[in-house]
Symmetry: C2
Subunit: 207 residues, 2 copies
């Protein structure tokens, strides 16, 4: 018997407090808001601005930032295609746990491969995965270069850099499209809030 | 440059909403309540009963059950010593994220190795790791055998089974000791609640 073979002896334990209970305590439903886009497109900036706005409304959130998670849970992973896939798989599985906990979970990760994003979409229930494509031309991202990474990629110091020498597969039907070279962070935030309200995930703001 | 070498280009993004903010929204502090003990000692049962009691008090919780996480995030892991270590490392890193989200995070995992539990303790701030040792003689656990696993271990169908042919290293100074062969689940729950109240993690119940 191999180690993996023992998996059939792993018996999940079902708790008495459900996702619906935890959502009820928080006063809203939960979902993953998944920000995908090039480095420097504004994913983290928009996610954190959204968290701030939701916090003001008493909504329970958490930001899973690809970069932050790479210094903890995913610090054993690099940037090969395989490791990027595993990075997204784990982010997705953790986001699923947060959704189960009743939290609106904002994930900011380049997540360049379509099949990896679809994997996460299929992890959760229909409507619980809100894909936000933060679109921005690579030339604009490269001009911003907030972390100096494009420069290093151009110099060949960083290899497999998305948009330079690694592919980015655009979402075809994202729930929300943000064109971060044309619209403000505040506008992006309002657009996402409006979506969450319309889908009944968060209550409409009391006037 | 190797993949791992690119790690120095991972720059964490600091959000504007802090752990303290998220705790404020929830009305209590957050921590990890880590249940360790043999299979069948009652870790999951006590964790879920604790969650139910905390829920009644309006406390925001989540149970990370070792078995449940093994069907998702950790489904790539087996039961070798190395995989068990990685299983606990990931549970700890995820629990840390939940604590950062303001959630009282109940983790039920055999976690037989002392150094793995100490690793998790050191991941979070002092006072944020509450180790609950659910002590129960292996003979009693084997009699309970709720999942029929001891029987399979005795038959040699499961190898590396903690307490049978793999070691369990007892905690020396757990924050809380539960003797599940001598005390009731309800008593265990009250003991933990009292600890959380006394440490100021949750507010005392209004009379």
């Amino acid at each position: 018997m191999t180690d993996k073979g023992e998996k059939k002896f792993v018996i999940p334990h079902k708790g008495r407090i459900s996702k619906a209970d935890r959502q009820r305590l928080k006063g809203h439903k939960s979902c993953i808001v998944w920000f995908t886009g090039l480095s420097g497109s504004g994913k983290s900036t928009i996610a954190h601005a959204l968290e701030e706005e939701l916090y003001k409304r008493g909504v329970h959130t958490y930001v899973l930032d690809g970069d932050n998670v790479r210094t903890g849970l995913n610090k054993d992973l690099g940037f090969s295609e395989e490791d990027r896939r595993e990075n997204i798989r784990r982010l997705g599985e953790v986001a699923k746990l947060f959704v189960d906990a009743g939290i609106i979970t904002l994930v900011a990760a380049i997540s360049p491969y379509k099949r990896d994003r679809e994997f996460v979409r299929n992890l959760v229930e229909p409507g619980e995965f809100v894909e936000v494509y933060v679109r921005c031309p690579v030339e604009v991202c490269e001009t911003r270069d907030p972390k100096g990474l494009y420069k290093k990629a151009r110099q060949g110091i960083i290899k497999n850099f998305t948009g330079i020498d690694a592919p980015y597969e655009e979402p075809e039907n994202p729930e929300i499209l943000i064109e971060s070279d044309k619209e403000s962070v505040q506008n992006a935030v309002l657009k996402i809030i409006k979506f969450l309200e319309e889908k009944g995930i968060i209550p409409k703001k009391e006037e």
